[in-house]
Amino acid sequence: MNQNSSEAIKELLYKMADDLLIIGHRNSEWTGLGPILEEDISFSSMAQDKIGQAQALYQLLNDLGEQEPDTVAFTRNANQFHNAQLVELPNGEYDFSLVRHFLYDHADQLRFEALANSSYEPLAKVARKVKGELKYHVFHANTWMVKLGSANEESHNRMQAAFNEAWNYALGMFEKSSFEDQLIAEGVFEGEETLQEKWLANITPYLIKAGIEIPASTSWNPVFGGRIGNHTANLSPLVEEMSEVFRFDPTAEW
């Protein structure tokens, strides 16, 4: 691997890992507050899966010469994170968290699915390993989306409102990197544009079942910037809280 492709792969790994870490942390904020015990446990368990997946990707970065996973996760400032803004938004009510879970996890599953055939074998290996976890996450998201989208007027209206709020942020997940063409040419990753097309095709049938409408494409206005470190004011307090214990004594043995 030449220097140039190493940089391209690092960029890809960082944005994926940061997405997972931040949404994992956000979703874990529901622990103990979930709507019912069983859902609380399920949602928390998936949040843990996401943090585990982030760790696997930070490990790949470490193998490429970046710092230790814990150091990377807990010592950067908000503007050094490459996550999409969607995942840093506050949890809001459970409807918003579920809608975000649905929109993000579909994209995440497709991204890993594509990467299972990546020419960068270490990443392909991780992608194949997380397949089962992602299948459950997406099944969970689909079930809630269809159920609440179509249960009664209140639940439908809440889901639709949350969906409208999340939509442009969700489109922001597919912000292209400056290495896009190279990653595609080298067979590392199929690219954001292809991913977004697949994502749209995958979520649509569930949205139809749920009776949730996608905003008219003329009004789409993707919120980009997250991939290059531009974030909302919500990320900084999250990073601070998440890393509080680590920063207290970075050399502590756990």
């Binding site: 507050l33 019912i36 015990l37 069983e38 446990i41 399920s42 368990s45 079930t143 159920k147």
Partner: protein, 121 residues
């Protein structure tokens, strides 16, 4: 009033001195019995109960509650109300009369025959 330092408590705005309001009837979803299978071919074993609004959701919860340690290959969920349950008052139907030992394997006196056969050899 003591303000809790636990972020979950402060975020949830639970007031410590306020008693928890009693639940209304039907506030809870109905329950499903969860059965898991450790490996293909094994019998499904009952592992517990989950609350859920439908069978699909019961499966989702059952999987996380009882199958997440990688010990399952398959899960059944059954509405609790669909399970026919015998009455504890009727538990005497399981009693058996001691004189009917011939119906149990232990009732057969075969040792004598075995020893006789062994001696014969």
């Amino acid at each position: 009033m003591i303000k809790s330092l636990d972020p979950r408590v402060t975020r949830a705005e639970i007031e410590i001195e306020n008693p928890i309001a009693p639940l209304n009837e039907l506030d809870q979803w109905e329950t499903y019995e969860v059965f898991h299978q450790k490996k293909r071919g094994d019998q499904h074993m009952h592992v517990g109960i989950v609350h859920a609004p439908n069978a699909e959701m019961a499966f989702l919860f059952g999987k996380e509650q009882y199958g997440r340690r990688g010990l399952s290959v398959n899960i059944w969920v059954v509405k609790t109300r669909d399970v026919f349950v015998s009455e504890y008052d009727d538990s005497d139907i399981f009693d058996t009369v001691p004189e009917k030992q011939y119906r149990e394997a232990g009732g057969y006196k075969v040792m004598a025959k075995i020893n006789k056969y062994k001696k014969g050899v």
